[in-house]
């Protein structure tokens, strides 16, 4: 890959990402819906489980990631579906931009949107469940970013994979959630630990490594296989 080639890869990636972000910020539909959904889930759970109980500290990490992954699905669902509207996907694929740039651009946009929704939900969560993140703010932010990138990569890839299927809305969750389990498991454990004051240390670095490994492997796999998925 020559220098200009890297340059055009990057500029295509940025063009796609900023397009997605711009059209989302213009309507804010997915953001609002996803945030509203996450509040609804929090409310539902507050009925399902007694939020004032002692046990809450031990489940809050888990709860948080359930909320993130469900609310995030709304955003990821739309990622490639957005391109279907007027057959925009065809125009993107027939352009000289590499499909890898297409994927990365969309993944970056999704990541930003997801992080926004997650931060907002985190605020609501802290209010509802009276949690505090102060002590371990930075490591928690790191874990959230890593976990979110995992959700984003898998979600974006499978959004592309299912975009032409009759049963898109059903196939996406059925395929994505089982695949996400290692990342979610790791993120849940780390978040719970951090929220209960345990720093990342010898007991749980393994989880951090799982999370990083997951992100790394699937980012590579996705960029490699996106062309097969989109073009054939």
């Amino acid at each position: 890959m020559g220098k200009t080639s890297v340059g055009s890869f990057l500029s295509s990636t940025v063009a796609i990402a900023s397009k997605d972000l711009r059209s989302e910020f213009r309507t804010k539909e997915a953001l609002n819906a996803s945030f509203a959904f996450s509040v609804v889930i929090l409310v539902l759970f507050s009925f399902a489980f007694d939020p004032s109980s002692e046990q809450l500290q031990t489940i809050s990490g888990g709860l948080l990631w359930v909320v993130f992954s469900f609310a995030g699905a709304l955003i990821l669902n739309r990622s490639f579906a957005r391109e279907l509207q007027n057959d925009c996907l065809d125009a993107l694929i027939s352009s000289p931009a590499p499909t890898g740039a297409l994927f990365l651009g969309k993944a970056i946009a999704n990541f930003v949107l997801l992080m926004i929704v997650e931060l907002a939900s985190l605020g609501v969560f802290a209010l509802f469940y009276d949690s505090r993140f102060g002590a371990q703010l930075l490591p928690i932010a790191l874990v959230i970013a890593l976990g979110t990138w995992g959700i984003t990569v898998i979600g974006t890839m499978f959004s592309a994979l299912t975009v032409n299927l009759r049963m898109r809305e059903m196939m996406l969750p059925t395929l994505v959630y089982p695949l996400l389990i290692p990342a979610l498991m790791a993120a849940m454990t780390l978040t719970t630990d951090l929220m209960s004051g345990t720093p990342i240390g010898k007991d749980n670095t393994i989880w951090l490594r799982v999370l990083i490994g997951f992100d790394f492997i699937y980012s590579i796999l996705s960029v490699v296989f996106i062309d097969v998925v989109l073009v054939g």
Binding site: L165, L175, V210, F225
Partner: protein, 227 residues
């Protein structure tokens, strides 16, 4: 030729299974802690070996499909996955029965069990995806990608639980580092494994033939209905 192969493999599987069933049920003594139920290990463990080998073969076949775009590999991958999923189901079922007797519960959220369930779900998703796509070429392409992603995921899950303490027994076979079984009690595991592999091969061959046939029928029908 193929029919003969199927026939021979069937006979082999049936022969070994009968012999080992006799051996396991009537010859071997009860285990000292678990009593009679431990015998389920002779199906539980061979089934999991067969299943996992199948998933890896399916990964290879999926890769081959993407490399060659020959639908034969796709049919092979699909057949192997389907059969392996059956064996995974057998593992779950025998494990649950075993757990019910030994632990008094059907299920516990122990790492190994959960992993197995995740594995099952991923490949069930693979098969559901296949059913959701009508066009054979698209189906082959997309499901090959899912197979590759799925297999990677299972390796990650597998790795990530190695550090967990589990309720489920640690490896006991001498080929791994366990070696906690009496030699006479261990060999039926390998024999049954061989039998199940033969059985799996038979099922895969039959399933592949069916898959090819149905694709043929599908395209003939399309041909008749198009234009």
């Amino acid at each position: 030729m193929r029919n003969k192969l199927v026939f021979v493999l069937c006979l082999l599987a049936a022969g070994i299974l009968c012999w080992q069933l006799y051996n396991v049920l009537l010859n071997l003594p009860n285990e000292k802690d678990q009593g009679a139920i431990y015998r389920i290990v002779y199906f539980h463990v061979p089934a999991i070996f067969t299943g996992f080998i199948g998933f890896f073969i399916a990964l290879g076949a999926s890769g081959m499909y993407l490399g060659t775009r020959n639908l034969k590999y796709d049919a092979f991958a699909a057949a192997v996955t389907e059969v392996s999923l059956t064996f995974a189901t057998i593992v779950l079922a025998t494990g649950m029965i075993w757990g019910r007797i030994i632990w008094g519960i059907w299920w516990t959220w122990d790492a190994r069990l959960t992993t197995m369930l995740v594995c099952w779900l991923i490949y069930a998703g693979y098969l559901m995806l296949r059913r959701a796509i009508d066009e054979p070429t698209q189906r082959a392409r997309l499901s090959a990608v899912v197979s590759i992603f799925g297999c990677t995921d299972i390796m990650i899950v597998w790795k990530s639980i190695e550090w967990w303490r589990t309720q489920h027994p640690a490896p006991v076979l001498s080929v791994r580092d366990g070696g906690g079984m009496a030699p006479g009690m261990e060999s039926p595991i390998y024999w049954n494994w061989l039998a199940l592999m033969c059985l799996a091969a038979v099922l895969v061959i039959i399933r592949m033939r069916q898959e090819n046939m149905s694709r043929e029928i599908d395209s003939l029908r399309r041909m008749a209905h198009s234009y």
